[in-house]
Amino acid sequence: MKKYLILTLLAGLTAASPAFAHAQLQKADPAAGSMPSAPVAHVDLYYSEELEPHFSKAVLADENGKPVEAVSEVDPKDAKHLVLTPRTPLESGTFRVEWHAVSVDTHKTQGSFQFMVMP
């Protein structure tokens, strides 16, 4: 009986909905460390969990650390997708993305990566 109770507990814990979890960056486009061809019109960040739009944001900076004007927005059709749109498409150079995410269950995560736009 005790074995069945333990197995039931473990099964329940492992099968728990992933909707309640930290939002980890699963994919980015351009990807971390990549060298996409110009122009780069937007940076797409895809997370493991849905984000709180008002508390999740990404910013862009050039290779000198100077901020690059861009709009950060959680996709209204897909709360796991955050889009960073520079005011003007990126033509060349190394750029750094820094993001802060709050998942729908209020867990906070952050990350940063670079990519180099090839002219």
Binding site: L9, L13, A16, A21, G111
Partner: protein, 304 residues
């Protein structure tokens, strides 16, 4: 089950109320996984069930020991947590009766006092107590051992761009001093059995593929691989008083797979010297992130 343990379980059950859960051990971009033999530097709501190991002891002839353990950690506040752990021990030696039973249960208190996010640095202090007499008489010590402990973790995310492929590395460590509640006890023959004091060191060197993929370079590896953290741990015990024994310890090379709500770890157990064991053993662990599974109930601090 002794009174302190009953009280802690009652407290844990009473925490079933809704409040946002808090993080794993996170410092900036770094998530320190819950390693098997080295306690990570953070405080969190988590459950290790089970932790199973098997190895041969240094006895002659060597005995086969298999352990089945659990640990439950519960946050009181965002920076303070308590823990309770227990292990079922099975020891079989050729020519001897097999010993089975619980080792002493453990209680812990841990306080996180420092996080430096840009440098991925985290530190905590704590006090652990192995409650004497709470385990089976033929397996567990009759005396209590108190171990004040320092925990730290440092990620390498602040390395320069020229060393970016080293950024996924992190090191964590524990330093503790085991102090028995009494110096000795007298056995049935009237001889004193001395209770050792010892320094306890453990550490982990880990290379996080999730960190590599998200923060350094996405090589397009399979999703399963992007959840892996190869790791090497060590644990050493060095007696400082009341002991004729020398330093013992093990190395634990292995890997951790981290998911959204749980992680699985598997490591080999390699004795550092002849006194530490015989041959290679193994240890596996299933670990649950209660702050992600039950963020509004058991997975959040009692006081916020």
């Amino acid at each position: 089950m002794n009174r302190p343990l009953k009280g802690l379980f009652a407290l844990a059950c009473a925490s079933l109320a809704a409040t946002p859960a808090f993080a794993h051990a996170i410092a900036g971009n770094r998530v320190f996984p819950a390693t098997i033999n080295t306690d990570d530097p953070g405080v969190a709501d988590e459950l290790s069930l089970p932790t199973i190991d098997t190895f041969k002891t240094s006895d002659d002839p060597a005995a086969r020991e298999s352990d089945y353990g659990f640990e439950f950690d519960k946050t009181i506040t965002e920076d303070l947590a308590i823990s309770v752990d227990g292990t079922w021990v099975n020891v079989s030696q050729p020519g001897s009766e097999t010993l089975r039973g619980f080792d002493n249960f453990g209680l812990g208190l841990k306080y996180h006092f420092l996080t430096n996010a840009p440098h991925e640095l985290m530190m905590s202090v704590g006090l652990n107590a192995e409650i004497g007499g709470s385990g089976a008489a033929r397996i567990a010590d009759s005396y209590t051992t108190f171990t004040p402990t320092f925990y730290f973790g440092k990620g390498m995310g602040d390395l320069p761009d020229s060393l970016s492929l080293l950024r996924p590395f992190a090191v964590t460590g524990n330093v503790g001093y085991a102090i028995p509640s009494s110096n000795n006890n007298i056995d049935g023959s009237g001889n004193p059995n001395y209770h050792p004091r010892a320094m306890e060191y453990s550490g982990a060197l880990e290379y996080s593929l999730p960190y590599l993929q998200a923060n350094v370079h996405d090589y397009g590896l399979p999703n399963f691989v992007n959840h892996l953290t190869p790791i090497v741990e060590f644990a050493i015990e060095k007696p400082t008083a009341n002991s004729d024994g020398g330093t013992t310890g093990n190395f634990y090379p292995g890997v951790i797979w981290s998911g959204d709500t749980f992680q699985v770890g598997a490591e080999a157990i390699i004795p550092m010297n002849r006194s530490s064991g015989t041959g290679v053993g193994a240890i596996v662990q299933l670990h649950f992130f209660l702050d992600d599974i039950l963020p509004t109930t058991l997975g959040k601090p009692i006081f916020q």
